[in-house]
Amino acid sequence: MSWGEGIASRFKPGDKVHVAARYPVRGHIRTPFYIRGKTGVVERICGQFHNPEELAFGKYDGPEKVLYRVRFDQKHVWPDYRGGPSDKVEIEIFEHWLEPAK
């Protein structure tokens, strides 16, 4: 399988992306706090899925959202990171949480 084949996505593997620094107080959000506001690189397109932020409130017929795997440098995510300089963390993030990074 070629991941993301036939999916109209805003970003493609290798693109630099910025995670929105939004902090809504309510809702079922699958973007962890620790990664909001950070910049990473799209590793792959996972597919299209219903938005968990709607599913959690019983809305099952909303539009599907593109889901990405985004790779981040640990040294960037945690400024005082104690591991190696090439260590990474990879996270699944929905398209509406991503912006193009400069």
Partner: protein, 216 residues
């Protein structure tokens, strides 16, 4: 009929009445009560029957790390299968008769330059359909918060030292994918059959908190 009070297993203190009625020691917690109430409502409303629910739990409990070990051992001994598994974990598992159920399984391969480890920082997503139910530590707040923040220290606590020049790659299962680590095949196992190799592949090596070793 004569009766020896100690011919059966029991969990009451010696000296007590072996036939005293079983009493709950404490009330069920909030979440247990909530889960029971939701289950009863779903059954009452006809979403599934009690027997279907029981059978589902039975099916999950029948899954064990032995399934994952079979998949890893095949990948070690069949390079074409290994490639298919890395390309599409769900299809690879299906070839081995394992239905992954979720959207897809991302198989991440350990190499001399990369070590992978899996976590779910938001809840406790786990590749149940290839490994069975997760161990308690995987669901603990300590593991979930620390392995993403300081993975090398957490791995050391599990007895796993990753060389400084190797990259540690943490996979946070935040949405629809599930993850399985394809561990490195230990040296000294050349020519082994897949069946013999399976014994080296444990649950923790497929989560990435340990590496496969020959028994010393």
């Amino acid at each position: 009929m004569t009766h020896d009070p100690h011919d059966h297993a029991h969990d009451h203190a010696h000296g007590g009445d072996p036939h005293a009625p079983i009493k709950a020691k404490e009330p069920e917690g909030h979440y247990q009560l909530l889960a029971d109430a939701v289950r009863e409502l779903l059954i009452e409303k006809g979403y599934f029957t009690a027997d279907e629910h029981r059978a589902f739990i039975e099916r999950i409990d029948a899954r064990t790390p032995a399934l994952g070990a079979k998949i890893v051992a095949r990948a070690w001994t069949d390079p074409k299968f290994r490639q298919r598994l890395l390309d599409d974990g769900k299809k690879g598992c299906a070839e081995m008769g394992v239905d992954v159920v979720v959207a897809n399984l991302v198989v991440v391969e350990n190499t001399p330059s990369v070590h992978n480890v899996i976590v779910c920082t938001l809840c406790s997503c786990y590749p149940v359909f290839v490994l069975g139910r997760p161990p308690d530590w995987y669901k603990s707040a300590a593991y979930r918060s620390r392995v993403v923040r300081d993975p090398r220290a957490v791995l050391r606590e599990f007895g796993t030292d990753i060389a400084p020049e190797r990259e540690v790659r943490v996979h946070d299962s935040t949405a629809d994918m599930r993850y399985l680590v394809l561990p490195m095949r230990p040296k000294g196992t050349e020519g082994w059959s897949a069946e013999r190799l399976e014994a080296l592949v444990t649950r923790d090596t497929m989560v990435g908190v340990a590496e496969c070793r020959l028994a010393s």
